[in-house]
Structure formats: structure tokens, C-alpha cells
Symmetry: C2
Subunit: 272 residues, 2 copies
């Protein structure tokens, strides 16, 4: 099944646009718990509340060789009907990008990945070539430093545009197989609105609600597509670390349920 179909089915089944970021940080986790055990408990507690999971590979690389095994165990533990997006932000020249794609798509069997645009189309093609997988290109990221380059005014054939808008336009042009999307942070609502208005059918992965400060109402109103099947709103720390005690999984379930509910309430109050 293609990524977008799988995503739409998961959104429909769980009535959820919420993605939980599986970013295990031993310094924030309940003491004495293994990383896979932590992830398993989070997944068990939230699997009927999410449209996707998004492990950021950095948190597994930080664990050394055990991290690699933990990431594989975690990916394999997630039920086949929930898409898993690896947040890898990869970007390298062609033969190297092919190696990354093999690792992420063949070995780990992730349904989608994030990728960096800086190296251009040929660095993305090895990922795009997997037509049944999704590729979310970084457009406007959620961090404070995003503006350093992403907001630069660039001269284009159709006038001056911010770099992140140029990225969005190129990705839309390159989307010949319908498996591309954009990463646009919740922390920049005006930029999110601009991208959604310009590309109403583009899948958007929106990180940055919760701990990073993105306001949920603006995120939903500005970011969700009309069909409500191509938008993924990610929360990591707000769910994972809702409690640092033994009740962490129950607290994560409550936090995820509240987020899902608030997103759906805001949608119910908006014209679809």
C-alpha cells in the first residue's frame, strides 16, 4: 500500500491527525527503564490515538550500537496499519543517498522519511524512487535558527520569495509520483498558512506543538488540508514525558488523547 493511503486509513480509523514522536531521552525517561521498554509502553498506550509514529533517529544513534537494535525493535513492534515516519533529515549525493535509502526503507522498512533539501533534486531521487514510501522535505523548520537561511529573500523567475517558499515550489514540481510532502513547523503559523494556501494538496508534517511552543489552534486552522487526510501534527515531549513517574504510560495516553481531542474540536469548529 502507498504511504498516503496508509496514512489516510490510519487517520480515519483512529480519528486522529496526531503523530507521536518516539524520541527517547534517557535523561527524561522514568529511571531504570530500558529504551525499548519505554517505547513499547508508549506505543501500547497510544496506538489507537495516533495517525503515525515518528522516531527521530538521533535519539537512537546517541545510544550507540544498542540504539540501532532498539530502533529496529521499535519499528517492528508498531502495528502494520500505522505508518512510521523516520525523522532522519538525510541529504547527500546520489550514491550516498542510495545507501541511506537502503538503510531506512529496506532494512528498517520505514513508511516515510524526512530529508533535507540543501543538496537538491538528485540527493532526493533515491528516496523518491521508492514510490510506495513518503518523503517529507524540510521547508520551514520549527527552531529559532530557522530564519538564518530559510527566510532569506531569493530572486526567482516569479519574483522575490523566501528560501522556504522556493523549496516548497520546487518540491511541488518534483512531486511526479505523489509521494512528497513538506515539513513546516507549528511555531511559525504565518509561514504555515502561506504554504498550505499555496499547496492545498501537499502532505504536511507539522512538528513543534507543545513543548516547542506552537499554538495548536493556529496550527490546525492554518495547516490542515481540506480533505483532512494529508496533515500530520507531531508532538514528542509533551506526550512522552507527561509524567516521569511509574504512571508515564497512562499519563502519555491522557496527553495524547487530549491533543487528539483538541485537534478534532478545533476542526469541528472550522469550515471543512
Amino acid at each position: 500500500m502507498r504511504f498516503l493511503e496508509k496514512l489516510a486509513q490510519a487517520i480515519d480509523k483512529n480519528r486522529s491527525l496526531l503523530c507521536v514522536g518516539l524520541d527517547p531521552d534517557p535523561g527524561l525517561m522514568p529511571p531504570g527503564l530500558g529504551v525499548f521498554e519505554f517505547n513499547r509502553a508508549i506505543i501500547d498506550a497510544t496506538a489507537d490515538l495516533v495517525c503515525a509514529y515518528k522516531p527521530n533517529i538521533a535519539f537512537y544513534e546517541a545510544l550507540g550500537r544498542d540504539g540501532w537494535d532498539t530502533l529496529k525493535l521499535t519499528r517492528d513492534y508498531i502495528a502494520a496499519d500505522i505508518p512510521v515516519i523516520v525523522d532522519a533529515k538525510r541529504g547527500d549525493i546520489g550514491n550516498t543517498a542510495r545507501a541511506y535509502a537502503r538503510g531506512l526503507f529496506d532494512y528498517f522498512r520505514f513508511d516515510a522519511t524526512t530529508a533535507s533539501p540543501y543538496l537538491g533534486l538528485d540527493s532526493l531521487e533515491p528516496f523518491i524512487a521508492y514510490h510506495d514510501r513518503g518523503v517529507f522535505i524540510l521547508c520551514r523548520t520549527s527552531n529559532a535558527g530557522a530564519a538564518d537561511f530559510q527566510s532569506l529573500s531569493c530572486e526567482t523567475e516569479t519574483g522575490v520569495k523566501a528560501l522556504f517558499e522556493v523549496v516548497a515550489g520546487k518540491v511541488a514540481l518534483w512531486n511526479k509520483h505523489g509521494n512528497l510532502g513538506l515539513v513546516v513547523g507549528a511555531t511559525y503559523p504565518e509561514e504555515l498558512r502561506l504554504i498550505r494556501q499555496g499547496y492545498p494538496e501537499m502532505p504536511l508534517l507539522i512538528p513543534g506543538v507543545g513543548t516547542q511552543g506552537g499554538e495548536l489552534a493556529d496550527t490546525v486552522r492554518f495547516g490542515v488540508d481540506a480533505g483532512r487526510c494529508k496533515t500530520i501534527i507531531n508532538s514528542s515531549r509533551q506526550v512522552l514525558y507527561a509524567s516521569k513517574g511509574k504512571d508515564f504510560a497512562a499519563a502519555a495516553r491522557i496527553a495524547a488523547g487530549e491533543l487528539r481531542g483538541r485537534i478534532n474540536e478545533i476542526l469541528a469548529g472550522s469550515p471543512s
Copy 2:
């Protein structure tokens, strides 16, 4: 010891600006050989001819869990006086970048890494914070798609500049601890000249000679710094796969020796 000192000592000891990229691709390696055995033979054959090694992490990720172990074994096998630059091209928001930095600098103990500029300064700070390690920021990459974004004309306070020039300028400003450098591909000699002229003291990592087509004479004349201690010229496939037979290590030694020799000949013919 700080990265640049270690690099300068290795350049001096081996009279070499050549870095060998340790990018093992089982499809190109002699059949029946394990990846670590391949790397070990390449290292044994070239350790007195190089100023650094540069494993690209993608080729290890493509191997799954064994790849992680192989990368650690490879890194640990390289003598302590030869700097090892991991080509990781990482770039993510602060808490995630910290996890990447822990993995690359604490677990693997790499001397330097490459990083992507797209997310801005706060995505680089966790790497920069390791003052004894080097961080090479992607500026103008060696691939054909580089121009898609890196050549965009950007409006700045000091006039219109290509994006890669803006990146170089910001990195120079951010280089408060003297541990930053730039990646500029050998396949774009005019861009390389522009960056070296603009930033004579900036460490440059220059991939793309050999298989990728970068012309060595231009690379050396345009890219090498006056002190000849802050420039790293990388070749991967031309050395690793000089022969696919049982003589691969001897052939790699010959290829590396010829490259080192040609670089030194070109330098000898240039005003220093």
C-alpha cells in the same frame, strides 16, 4: 588536542592533503570480503599517505545493526594521530542535534563531522560546543543538483549573493571557537576559488576529485590555503575501488600515493 592541530600534524607527518573516504559499498568491493576487513586493509595500505579518513555514515547505516559495529571498529582501528571526519551531514533542532553530537563525538569519538546549514545556528551549536572537534558545514556540494538551491541569488545587506556564499559568510561569523570549516566540492572550481579567496583561513573539506569528475589541478590551485594546513582533499571511490580483485589494497595504495604525489607536484609548481 584540537582538531586543527591534529590535522596540521598529520598533513605534516605524511606530507599529504589527501583524505580517503571510507565508503564501503559491498557491490563494488572484492567479493567475499567483510566490510571491516575491507576497511582494515585499506587503512593498512594508506595510513602513511593520508591526512585524514572520512567514513560516510550512510554506507554503514545501509548495513543495518552490523554497520554500526563496523563503523565503531573502523574508527577505533585508525591510529590516534590521524583525524577521522565522519561525513554525517546532520542538521536538526537543538535537543535532537545534541543527541546526534553525543552519538558522533562521545560514542564514536570522531574528530570532526560534516553538518547541514539549513536549520541555522542553533542546530549547529551542539556540535560547535565540542571545542576540540571540527564541524564542516555544507557550503557548495559536489553533486549536479547542488545548484537547485545553493546557487539561488539571495538579497543581503551587502548586496546579492548566492546562497552558498551567504552560508560561508555566516559560518565565518559563527566561528568563535575556531573549530568550523566548509565543504566545497571540487566539481565547481569557480565557486571553490570564490570561497577560498573570501575566506583564506577557513578550513575546507573538498570532496569530488576522481570519480565525481573534479579536476585535481584546479582543486589544488584554487582551494588550498597559503599555509597548506587547512585543506582536505577527499577521494573515495578512486582509491577504494582502484581494483576489485585480490590486489585491491595494493591498488588502493598506488592510487592514494599517486593522488598525494600529484597534489604535492601541483603545490610545488604554485606560489605558496
